[in-house]
């Protein structure tokens, strides 16, 4: 694999300045926030201007980057745009999820009600009518591959079809995978499934193909509230490294599993699993 990838900026200056204008304009910006989170994703990936600042116009050295994903639970509004983007980006079959959004409701007795109908794909327009209790607290939790630093899925794959890249990605080689499903059993976060078409293991890849072009993952680029953040930890100026080095409680899921996730959560309560 070539270590260096030249990051040609394919977007013409014209278009970029136009998009800048739209983004900077207050009306445009708020309109984008309200209506076009979904519309954005109908465009082809190249049209999306959400480049990773640290990668833009820079040669990307795979061994020097270390990517991290941060989910800010306090910002997630459960709109499901990320799930729609993901579904379109990968044509994910019905009933399977590379990413999903969970809704947590807590009552005054500390009972926790969790659900994720259709993985949150259609958002959460209605409250849960099946629950006849006073709700004290509610929040949404997006889930995706944790890109574990010690990934059990890689450990168990008998043929090395699931592997780790130097820049922190855990990927599946679909040309090698035999579809035994051992990785599906081993992933403590249940992010893996057997693709019903290719009959090989599939999971969230943090949009590796986009990242290597200097773009943000599809879900990150459509999130209207910035609840999903992605970037290179080795770049001190990136948002993710500032967050991770800064104050505030940041946690990972199922720490006791010893998987050392590369996916961090801001504002996750202990109820989140």
């Amino acid at each position: 694999m070539d270590n260096k990838i030249s990051m040609d900026n394919k977007i013409s200056d014209d278009r970029r300045s136009f998009i800048k204008k739209v983004l900077n304009g207050t009306i445009g910006g708020s309109l984008l926030l309200v209506f076009s989170a979904g519309a954005e994703i109908f465009k082809s990936p190249e049209d999306i201007p959400a480049q990773i600042p640290s990668l833009k116009n820079k040669e990307y050295e795979i061994t020097k980057a270390h990517f991290a994903f941060i989910v800010d639970i306090t910002k997630c509004i459960g709109c499901g745009s990320c799930c729609v983007a993901d579904k379109r980006e990968y044509n994910v079959a019905d009933g399977y999820y590379r990413t999903w959004v969970e809704r947590y409701l807590k009552d005054y007795d500390d009972n926790v009600y969790v659900d994720s109908p259709k993985g949150g794909l259609e958002g959460y327009q209605s409250p849960r009518e099946d629950i006849d209790v006073k709700v004290r607290d509610t929040f949404f939790v997006p889930k995706l591959c944790n890109m574990c630093k010690e990934p059990p899925c890689v450990q168990v794959c008998p043929i090395g079809a699931t592997f780790q890249t130097p820049d922190g990605f855990v990927l599946v080689d679909h040309k090698r995978c035999v579809g035994c499903g051992y990785c599906i059993q081993a992933c403590p976060y249940s992010v893996r499934f057997l693709n019903p078409v290719t009959k090989t293991a599939e999971k969230c890849s943090w949009c590796y193909h986009r990242v290597r072009k200097g773009l943000q993952p599809a879900c990150v680029s459509v999130c209207p509230t910035g609840a999903r953040k992605f970037g290179d930890l080795n770049d001190e100026n990136s948002e993710v490294s500032k967050i991770l080095k800064g104050p505030g409680v940041i946690t990972v899921l199922k720490r006791e599993m010893g998987t050392f996730p590369g996916l961090y959560y801001i504002g996750a309560r202990r109820e989140v699993i």
Binding site: G95, Q155, P158, R176, C177, G179, S190, F193, K199
Partner: protein, 393 residues
Amino acid sequence: MDAIQHISPYLISNYVFPNDIHVHWSMMIVLYPYITGLVDGAFIVAALYYVFGVEKLKPVARFSLIFALAFLCCATLPLLLHLGRPERNLNMMITPSPHSAMAGFGYIYGISMGVLVLIILFIYRPFLVEQRLKSKGVMEILYRLLTFDSTNVSEKSLNMDKKIIKFLVAIGIPIACVLHGYVGFIFGGVKANPTWSTPLMPVIFLFSACVSGMSAIIFAYIITKTFTKQKIDMDCLKILVNTLAGFFILAFCFEMLEVFSHTYLRSGYHHMVEGLLNGPLRDSFWKYQVLYFSVVPLFLLGFICLLPIKQWLYKFTAFITSFLLLLQVLFMRWNVIIGGQLMSKSARGYTEFHPEWFDKEGIVAVIIVMAIPFIILFVLGRIFPFWEKDSVN
């Protein structure tokens, strides 16, 4: 759901992770350890005779080996049916990943197969030599191959054979234990699944393997001898039943130890496991695996092992007990493999599993896969007559 809610406050919403709705390792993965278990148990019976010199087991020793071979031939079948891309199965041998427990399967399987075939060829050498001298053409070439192109059946060479057989079976024992302990480890090594992830798993698999294999031998022995109106060697049967009782007590103790230590510790995922055993697995675990197919056989075994009873009653009870124990092990496999997956990794709920009829991992496929070893056994029986009375010795 109501019952489950009472058990665990964590389950209030029965939330299953969206990808956990599907049970990935289904019926074929239940069959795989079941079949390898039968192989191991049968092999242990043979080993008791060939290595440990338990002379009374002579009548079933050769049958056990051929039985083991017939089932070993089919051990990969359920795995192949289960794979999403079966045509790539050899990748496991060509580019094995050193970190993966499963990567060793092909090698361990290959070695077991090689050793078992060699043992059988040496044991049958005098008979095969005789056949070779009688046959012509292609068959002669075949027999030449099977006899290592040697017609020497002098006492000296037969003694040599005996030593070789003893050696091969002796190394075959650890291989059989590795094969099945390893199958258990494949499950035990999945830390994300609290019902599997226990160091006891390989041990439980190993002992239950012995139980299923021995039960199968007893069952087949009684049934074939009864149908062909031949005499059942009571000494042999008694040794088999006693050994089976020993192995079964150990297997059952370990299975229960596993559950009770979870229950007593009440730590971590205990509530989920408890909810599983008392919820979706209530019938298949407590009622079938434990009560009908473990406690009942335990009493039956106690009855025939400890009390002086009439021969016909002994045979009849041994027959029933071995059948129940065959089911016990099948249920145990089901409860571990399917049951373990019914529990979502969300630790907040359970999914369901309904086997299909005509799927490639469906009920019909299971019946076919289980029938094939018997067909192979029948064919092998023509080439290698396995009951003692047919012996040329």
